[in-house]
């Protein structure tokens, strides 16, 4: 990944295109692995406006339903309608075929405050470690 990719604590990724005029949003590889087989998605309407971290889409996996949050305040310019037929692309290609929406951001500062790749990897590392610790506690029972 050469582009400047950022992440939210809710596991969305964001890449800026067209000199910051367009933000592509999807969910991270970690998120798709946690969700397991994704079987449907509800997408927003093009032209609708969202505040930062408002729910913008809903993903159903066999295991659970999850809200996807709009990582940046802005207007929806494009949605990945192919996901309606191929929700599994989010599992198979979370950073490419599985992109979810493109948003025109209204405040670029919001992007700069998101986690970098390095920070996000560390963040996931902490989550994995907590899970391991939990499992150790469970297995002592």
């Amino acid at each position: 990944m050469v582009e400047d990719i950022r992440f939210t604590k809710e596991h969305e990724w964001i890449i800026l295109k067209e000199g910051g005029e367009l933000a592509v949003i999807g969910i991270s590889d970690f998120a798709q692995r946690q969700l397991g087989d994704i079987v449907s998605i509800e997408l927003p309407k093009v032209g609708s406006r969202f505040r930062q971290m408002q729910a913008i889409a809903i993903i159903d996996s066999v295991k659970a339903s999850s809200d996807i949050y709009c990582a940046l305040t802005g207007e929806v310019m494009e949605i990945n309608e192919e996901l309606l037929e191929h929700p599994e692309w989010i599992n198979q290609s979370p950073y490419e075929l599985g992109w979810i929406v493109k948003v025109k951001p209204s405040d670029i500062e919001e992007f700069n405050n998101l986690m970098t790749k390095e920070q996000y990897d560390k963040f996931i590392g902490e989550i994995e470690k907590e899970k391991d610790d939990d499992e150790k506690i469970e297995s002592r029972r």
Binding site: S40, I41, E42, D60, V62, A64
Partner: protein, 340 residues
């Protein structure tokens, strides 16, 4: 790994959908050792169990098994069980993991002179399920012709040279077997996976077990049935044998005014229903979803829900998911999948 009532259980290995489809087309191996297992022995064992269940043990001969709810005095379902009758004086009872302590207490309380032993930790339980299960298992079991083992029959035999009880039972809607053996012999798992490779065997977890049983219309304790549910309200009416002289809950069930029923439904839009979602009829909350998932076989959103008794098959209802309501159609039964 999921902590399931104190057991470390994999929800999935290769993925729920993959494991599900492999069970429907080839064969899968499930470790279901989390289930509770009791041995009930003695001259009173038969009478004790016959009193505890709504179904009728007198229909069994030695080496057969029976599915039944076990109800309280109000007809509420304490648990649903499979009772394996080795002989009239010796039974193995398999119960839900979440109900182990409660069931043991209840059975002991009604055991008269029968002895009840919790053998859950001593005995491992694997389920080998799928259309290729018999062909595969026959390679591991040389002393028994599995053709002769009909659904709900059991046999005490050996597998890879180890003592083993095998029953033709399962929780997937497929042909299949459950294997009971000493928990120190867990290498049987690896051997089955090894010789199963030419049958495309895959290990499967709790996630696929849930989607498989949902398609097959099988109840899950805690989701679809509990102590506030009677067998008359769910598709378990067939398990109540009123002709039996006596059993716990008989009086309450015989006089119950049933005003709700558990039905299957299919969501006509692309959302997955979940346990607890409300059922709306003409805008009014009239019931709730007990189980719901994506059906990998039908590629549809399916589930079970409680609705008033007057609701008919093919009637349109709404399911409320995350504050929005989605159209759904009531099915003619809870069984979405029936093997050929």
């Amino acid at each position: 790994m999921l902590n399931f009532h104190g057991w470390e259980m994999p929800i999935q290995y290769s993925g729920i959908i993959d494991e599900h489809i492999n069970t429907r087309t080839n064969v899968s191996l499930f470790d279901v050792s989390h289930m509770g297992r009791f041995e009930v022995k003695g001259l009173d064992a038969y009478d004790c169990l016959q009193m505890l269940i709504t179904n009728d043990l007198s229909k069994l001969i030695d080496n057969q098994a029976l599915y039944s709810p076990m109800c309280d005095d109000n007809g509420g379902i304490i648990d649903d069980l499979i009772i394996y009758m080795i002989k009239r004086e010796k039974f193995i009872v398999v119960v839900n993991a979440s109900n182990r302590e409660k069931d043991l207490e209840w059975i002991v309380k009604h055991s008269k002179s029968a002895t009840v032993e919790n053998i859950s930790d001593k005995i491992a339980l694997l389920a080998l399920q799928g259309p290729l299960a018999q062909n595969l298992l026959q390679k591991a079991v040389v002393d028994t012709n599995l053709d002769r083992l009909k659904p709900f029959d059991l046999v005490i035999t050996n597998i890879f040279g180890n003592d083993c009880m095998i029953s033709r039972t399962g929780y997937t809607g497929e042909d299949g077997f459950e294997l009971f053996f000493d928990s120190s012999k867990i290498d049987i798992w690896n051997k089955l996976i090894q010789i199963g490779s030419r049958f495309n065997i895959k290990p499967a977890g709790l996630g696929a077990r849930d989607t498989l049983r949902l398609e097959a219309g099988l109840m899950l304790y805690g989701n679809d049935i509990n102590e506030n549910t009677t067998p008359l309200e769910v598709p378990l009416k067939w398990t109540i044998k009123f002709e039996k002289k006596e059993f716990i809950g008989k009086k309450a069930l015989a006089t119950q005014q049933v005003n709700r029923k558990l039905v299957g439904f299919e969501i006509l839009e692309k959302r997955i229903p979940r346990h607890g979602n409300e059922v709306l009829i003409d805008g009014q909350e009239m019931g709730f979803v007990t189980s719901g998932s994506f059906s990998p076989t039908l590629k549809k959103s399916i589930g079970f829900c409680f609705v008033p008794i007057y609701v008919l098959p093919n009637q349109l209802i709404k399911i409320s998911i995350g504050g929005k309501s989605y159209s759904a159609k009531v099915s003619s039964s809870t069984r979405f999948y029936k093997r050929k």
